[in-house]
Symmetry: C2
Subunit: 339 residues, 2 copies
DNA sequence: CTGAAAGCGCTTACAG
DNA sequence: CTGAAAGCGCTTACAG
């Protein structure tokens, strides 16, 4: 298996002109005669020539490629965000390399190393829940590879960030439950170290406060973001002497766990327990009953993060003012919370 | 933003030796004295040097990178297969670039072009349902870039292929329904052009034949592979004068559509209609009732396809005997088909 | 054991 | 308008 590629040299040979001229003609340089240009371009087309991007990368020290690291591509929120990343990247002439951290710091580090060694031009990342330490990303920045954070952001990094208004989303979810008459509202939250966990928890607490409902420590449980976590914590909640009459789940995986645990335990939603979560819309409507949810503009988050990243990559001056964009979530009411 | 990278030249300068010697020392060549080697390696470590893979790619005309094209990374079957691809690729020192075709021929072509221009070493692909024409992949092969097909394969290509025994899976699913007493068994199938659609349809037909049940044209409906397709076709089936008493769905998305349509229409599973599908396990158990399914070893398919691909890439001789590996599916019985 | 030189495919000052 | 030369970062015959 041999890769035989047409090079500029071959075109030059066939046309009996120099490589320089071929190169310039191909790039439509104004200093080449129309006639030469035409000859070169025609032959290039005929031979099905396209430039070797590797040679160009070596020359420019640019790869026209960006990296994305997300915890899990199977998660709809992230696959949709990746869609947004690809959308902007392609339209601006960049390619996208996708990495999964599987929520592991070590995998994130290894992806970072790979990105650095591959001379990727920049990186969009949703930090793994295990990564309290973001030195590997800071180190990328120091090597001149810009990093933009989305969804999961970190205060330890100076850069552009795109996140949703987790506080407001959680506030609205909790307020909705209160307005439907719930008073004993539990919250199954993600890992403490993750920024969005804290924002959502604050929103939940403040909504309770606004309506004069006491905050109860035992009604807030933290867990890993997966279905099993939601299920286990629901067992724990429903085993309490004073049971909650509503559960607010901090992610879609968790909410699926909550949903299946409640059904399995024989509770009716929303009559026994009202449920709302941060969810993917397609998913929530499949469940029985369909689940109310705070939905996030994931595609748009990917777009905005990428657009900020490409601006960073293409800006010559180092002195960019970093910004944090906060997008709005939407609340979608379904049967699971309609007491 | 400047990328300042340590090069072999810099090490040579600091040590006052030649680039050649540095290069050889770093590659642990036997012709370099231990002393020099140590000096070089120590300094390289200190300066945090790592070789520029782009330069090496230019030299070797190899990128140590493979591409994967799947219809949709959000689909669990594919995200899991990608896991298998990454697993083998990483362990053999290759990186993976992931592309989505979104079931569009045009996107698949554009990914192929990108792959060719990036000089990717090889490609693993599950063909888009729209791609009856696979010339873009053949052209890749002709350029010396090996292509291995998995899941969705095509007779129009000579190469390694990895697929599951769709015929047998469909046969077993249908036989199971028959053994539970169903006699009017419908099948909602994928697009006609896709190879697995045909295999599954054959399995369904042959199971009916084995038990002396007449095949009824109107009980087999083709559709795009998405939830809406499953829903629409279920409407159509249940509107028939003679209704089916069982539906066999050809994919998980379709089966989710079948499930939600039946519930919405007021049918009980399995009593009114038994349901079985080609499904992802995690998904089927979330539905109410949980759905019986033919499950596929997706991770393993990704692994095997990649392992075959890397063998192709690394084999010097062109004369490889192409093989088609057929993996076995499993049948998982759940409430939806337990009449 | 070590170095100078050529070359991978391209671009771009520098000459003419 | 066109060409010869240098160089991006590396490897590897070829000399010594």
């Amino acid at each position: 298996m041999k890769k035989v590629s047409i090079t500029i040299k071959e075109i030059a040979r066939q046309l009996n002109i120099s490589k320089s001229t071929v190169s310039r003609a191909l790039r439509d340089s104004s200093e080449i005669s129309e006639e030469t240009k035409k000859k070169v371009i025609d032959l290039a087309e005929k031979l099905n020539y396209y430039p070797n991007p590797i040679a160009i990368s070596l020359l420019k020290n640019r790869t026209q490629t960006i990296g994305v690291i997300v915890p899990d591509i199977a998660n709809r929120f992230y696959s949709s965000a990746i869609g947004g990343v690809e959308d902007i990247a392609y339209s601006r002439g960049y390619h996208t390399m996708i990495y999964q951290s599987h929520e592991l710091l070590e995998r994130e580090r290894s992806a970072s190393r790979h990105i650095a060694s591959r001379r990727v031009d920049g990186l969009v990342v949703a930090i793994s829940s295990q990564s309290e330490n973001v030195d590997h990303f800071v180190s990328l920045q120091e090597q001149g590879i810009p990093v933009v954070l989305f969804d999961r952001v970190s205060d330890a990094m100076q850069t552009h960030k795109v996140r949703i208004d987790d506080y407001k989303g959680a506030f609205e979810a909790t307020e909705h439950l209160i307005q439907r008459g719930c008073r004993r509202i539990a919250h199954i939250a993600g890992p403490k170290a993750v920024s969005i966990t804290r924002f959502r928890l604050e929103g939940y607490k403040d909504a309770l406060k606004k309506y004069g409902i006491d905050f109860q420590e035992e009604w807030v449980l933290h867990t890993e973001i997966n279905q099993a976590g939601g299920t286990e914590r629901t067992y724990q909640l429903m085993a309490l002497r004073e049971r909650p009459d509503a559960i607010f789940g901090a992610s879609d995986r968790l909410t699926m766990g909550i949903h299946s645990a409640l059904r399995q335990l024989g509770y009716k939603m929303p009559d026994d327990v009202a449920v709302i979560g941060f969810c993917d819309l397609a998913m929530s409507s499949l469940l029985d009953p369909p689940v109310s949810s705070i939905t996030q503009p994931s595609f748009e988050m990917g777009q905005q993060a990428t657009s900020l990243l490409l601006d960073l990559i293409e800006s010559k001056n180092t002195l960019v003012e970093f910004e944090t964009r906060v997008l709005q979530s939407n609340i979608v009411i379904n049967k699971s919370s309609l007491k």
